[in-house]
């Protein structure tokens, strides 16, 4: 086994080990990635396998009744959330990375805050505030003496309302990927454009934006998949989408085949979206080869421009974080959770444990898949990875049920085996264990982690690998000494986002968990499903508070890291 360590001691021993690493390593990487991707695909396949059942199938009924509306609604949701997150995420990312204005450094991390806010909770909070029976409209009616038909008020419980909620909590996906991309663009390119007489806006449009496009596309894709998979918010808002139809078909009509048909239609749609995006930039490559020592110099904004920039960045924070937190605080002080003391601490501990474990496991898996995609984006393993990450668009409950099926099958197979051979029953080994939960989270969130890591890998020019190899590093050495240090930021980003996502995650946690094991999200769900929103507010606030920790760390670290990068040459290969 050749390790990077060997070469430090004996650089001249290179050729002998080099051959070995060439033959063995690539296979190991691709095989491991392939196996991982198959494991992630397994639950999806388990659900879709019902397609081949002969019974059931109410697609005819659906087509005749609600299908047209839910197709339109889903398309509308995709369009609005896609445009919304792209504009808000990219716009704010550009402002905080290319400009300096009062508060810009502060806003830079504040803009990530809505990430900690679960979509269904922001939905509940705004509903409570904005509906007909809520304080705002009641106040208006009291002041002006209106009744129901005397005035018009936008109905938050509508397609645009739900899209707005989702944009508010999902734009940070685009923001963090785009900001990193902007910050790592070299000053050289932007300066050249400026020297050629382009205005700052023009530079943004013709140089910065196209170069950041893969990152933005990855962020928007994540936001869209999450929006498509959302059930809690759309259901509460009374908007019918593919997801609500899948639930209805499976659980309301007991038609598993119909649900599988709808799920596969959904997958096909997402596949098409992703393929279109890939195809439209297939002939472009995005390496910035100039020295990164020259970081883009932010433009200082003054006067009304500064006011504009500040306002543009403050609005998403205000609507996506500050206002809902205030509403939740008001609800909390109005009622609050009766289990405020030690019980809530236990729930928080469990949540923390799961989120932390998942952050490590899922990010680890994503480094593997990201590396595999870098090495070969056309191979079988890469294809499997691409396909498996699309599972992110499948509703969480469906995935959770899909996770149960192979785990149960494995446990029962093992049990049968042990009974036959040794006469002992092993019962359920994986089902209902924390391992099962971590597996479920990997299936669910590999897409998110993979986006962060893959984007990170894409920013490392391939020729750096070549240089490192020429300087005597094995492939593994390249990973350890070149990729990982350069990926540190992406790895952290991935871990932080998986952490926050798992903290908020509900369906898989609810159904895969062990006995007597409650988390914050479970607690909030139980209170909310009993329509006790003011009690649920307490747990929601704790979720948000814990979610802030990794975001804060991330920002701290990312800031220091970017300063380090700017202060020193990119890569230091130790001798």
């Amino acid at each position: 086994m050749a390790t990077a360590q060997d070469f430090r001691g004996n650089p001249k021993g290179l050729p002998a080990t080099k051959g070995r690493s060439f033959k063995v390593r690539p296979n190991a990487v691709f095989v491991a990635t392939g196996v991982l991707a198959l494991l992630v695909l397994l639950p999806i396949a388990a659900v879709l396998s019902s397609l081949f059942d002969t019974s059931g199938g109410s697609l005819g009924h659906l087509a005749a009744t609600i299908l047209p509306e839910l197709v339109l609604n889903t398309l509308g949701l995709v369009l609005m959330v896609g445009l919304g997150t792209a504009i808000v995420g990219t716009g704010t990312a550009w402002l905080v990375s290319a400009c300096r204005f009062p508060g810009s450094r502060f806003l830079q991390w504040m803009l990530l805050l809505p990430l900690a806010m679960p979509a269904y909770i922001i939905g509940y909070a705004y509903t409570d505030f904005l509906v007909f029976a809520g304080p705002l409209q009641t106040g208006l009616r009291d002041i002006f003496g209106w009744t129901r038909n005397d005035y018009w008020f936008p109905d938050i419980h509508s397609l645009w309302g739900v899209s707005l909620m989702l944009v508010l909590v999902l734009y940070p996906y685009v923001f963090f990927l785009a900001r990193t991309a902007f910050q790592e663009q070299s000053r050289g390119l932007l300066d050249v454009a400026r020297t050629l007489g382009r205005s700052p806006w023009n530079v943004f449009g013709t140089v910065a934006l196209p170069m950041a496009r893969p990152a933005i596309a990855a962020g928007v894709a994540l936001a869209l998949m999450e929006a498509i998979a959302d059930f809690g918010t759309v259901q509460y808002f009374g908007v019918q989408t593919f997801t609500t139809a899948i639930y209805r078909t499976w659980f309301g009509m007991g038609d598993r085949v119909g649900a599988a048909q709808l799920s596969s239609a959904l997958l096909a749609f997402v596949f098409l979206l992703v393929a279109m995006e890939h195809w439209s930039r297939s002939r472009q490559a995005y390496y910035d080869t100039s020295a990164r020592a020259l970081k883009p110099q932010p433009v200082s904004l003054r006067g009304w421009k500064a006011v504009f920039a500040f306002t543009a960045c403050a609005i998403p924070i205000l609507l996506g974080f500050v206002l809902p937190v205030l509403i939740l605080l008001e609800l909390h002080f109005d009622g609050g959770d009766g289990f405020l003391g030690t019980r809530l601490m236990v729930y928080a501990g469990n949540s923390f444990l799961l989120a932390g474990g998942a952050a490590v496991v899922v990010t680890g898996c994503a480094i593997l898949t990201g590396y595999c995609l870098r090495r070969s984006s056309g191979g079988l393993s890469a294809g499997l990875v691409r396909f498996s990450t699309m599972g992110y668009a499948i509703p969480g409950t469906i995935i959770a049920v899909g996770v149960l099926i192979p785990l149960g099958a494995f446990d029962n197979w093992l049990d049968g085996l042990m009974r036959n051979w040794f006469g002992i029953s092993t019962g359920l080994v994986l089902s209902g264990s924390v391992v099962a939960l971590l597996y479920a989270y990997t299936v669910r969130f590999l897409a998110v982690a993979n986006s962060a890591i893959e984007t990170g890998f894409k920013r490392i020019p391939v020729h750096i690998d070549d240089v490192a190899r020429t300087l005597g590093r094995t492939r593994r050495g390249v990973i350890a000494m070149v990729h990982l240090p350069l990926l540190r930021r992406s790895v952290l980003m991935s871990a932080a986002i998986v952490f926050v996502d798992v903290l908020k995650e509900l369906p898989a946690t609810l159904i895969v968990r062990p006995f007597n094991f409650d988390t914050l999200a479970v607690r909030v769900y139980q209170l909310a499903s009993d329509e006790r929103l003011s009690e649920a507010a307490t747990g929601s606030l704790v979720i948000v508070a814990i979610g802030l920790v990794p975001i804060f760390l991330l920002t701290r670290f990312a800031d220091r890291q970017s300063e380090q990068i700017s202060a020193s040459p990119v890569i230091k290969i130790p001798q």
């Binding site: 009924h61 609600i66 959770a400 149960g408 446990d411 029953s425 895969v512 329509e531």
Partner: protein, 350 residues
């Protein structure tokens, strides 16, 4: 010598470790004491904890719980198969517990306590499941804008006079699906479809929110009559929040269909899991749920109606008054669930 010893020791150690590891893995199924039952429950009310604690105190049998939506628990039991640790399955509606039964996840049991205390229409004929508490699908009408006489029945909600006045949540909600099933049972599919179309035409707004939201909307004047579960109104009446109590105060409760078949009631029910490892404990638990003490808890804690006759009602249920309930077999309307969903889809009930 010492080498031999250490080798032996090591071998012993490995054997012992393997043995104990297998023992630990197998522990849940082999070694589980008779003093434990595993509950798969879709009840999620804090007030139930007193119920469970009392059972453990009385019998010494500890309770382990997984609480999730019934559909998901059903899928989990299916996936776990013969090794499922579930002893008891509990749902909060008849449709889901009947589905668990048709998926072959429950087993019939014989219990004189249960069959004598629980009325026949609230349990499965072969003892696969039993209802333990009831929730009525009631109407709430605006105190100042509507007379109870104008909303005598579910059927009346589909009449011309109700245009723009009706508030109800989504048809995805199981209690609406069960109600739809009971209408089909009462009038047949064609008439039920006409009812659904008429109802949709009378909506004050497209369906959204939960049951409490309907009550609040009636109180605020968005519509004049709402269809909700009885316990939500009760919980709002005894809520610690002033705005909830105020909203509940602005509506009048109407038990529909008192002149004919009675108000539709759904159940929260339980049954013994097909592969229960502690069947005796499971039956004991179900029998406990039918005891006077547990039945009083359902009323006092979660404002649900007891299924056992003669159990005193806690406030505010005692203020709701006696009412005639639809004694349609829960098994029957549960089996009409899927047809109900199709009818609601066709009627445009979102």
């Amino acid at each position: 010598m010492s080498v031999v010893n250490s080798v032996l020791n090591r071998r012993h150690f490995v054997l012992a470790a393997t043995g104990s590891a297998v023992g630990m893995l197998a522990a849940p199924s082999i070694l589980r004491a008779a003093g434990e039952i595993n509950l798969y429950s879709s009840r999620h009310y804090d007030t139930d904890e007193a119920l469970y604690a009392n059972f453990t105190k009385e019998t010494g049998i500890a309770i382990n719980r997984i609480e999730a939506k019934a559909d998901q628990l059903i899928e989990r039991m299916k996936a776990e198969g013969a090794n499922s640790p579930a002893d008891v399955f509990i749902s909060v509606d008849a449709g889901r517990i009947e589905r668990a039964n048709t998926e072959n996840l429950l087993q019939p049991i014989q219990s004189d306590v249960l069959s004598s205390r629980i009325p026949a229409y609230l349990r499965h004929s072969d003892g696969s499941w039993f209802g333990f508490s009831k929730r009525a699908r009631i109407l709430v009408i605006a105190k100042d804008r509507m007379d109870p006489k104008d909303a005598p029945s579910y059927e009346a909600l589909a009449g011309e006079a109700m245009k723009g006045k009706v508030l109800i949540r989504s048809s995805s909600n199981i209690y609406n699906q069960s109600l739809m099933g009971s209408i089909i049972a009462a009038h047949g599919a064609d008439e039920a479809a006409r009812w659904a179309t008429g109802l949709v035409a009378n909506f004050a707004r497209s369906p959204k929110g939960g049951d409490r939201d309907q009550i609040k909307a009636v109180a605020a004047g968005e519509g004049d009559v709402g269809v909700v579960n009885s316990y939500y109104l009760g919980k709002m009446m005894k809520s610690g929040k002033e705005d909830q109590r105020q909203a509940a105060d602005k509506v009048t409760l109407v038990f529909p269909n008192q002149a004919d078949r009675g108000t539709h009631v759904n159940i929260s029910g339980g049954g013994v899991a097909r592969h229960a490892k502690n069947k005796d404990g499971a039956i004991k638990f179900l029998e406990y749920l039918a005891s006077d003490q547990a039945q009083e808890y359902f009323a006092a804690g979660n404002v649900e109606y007891p299924v056992v006759k003669g159990v005193p009602l806690a406030s505010p249920l005692d203020t709701f008054g006696e009412f005639k309930e639809d004694t349609l077999d829960a098994q029957k309307f549960a089996s009409l669930n899927a047809q109900g969903v199709q009818i609601m889809d066709k009627a445009g009930w979102k």
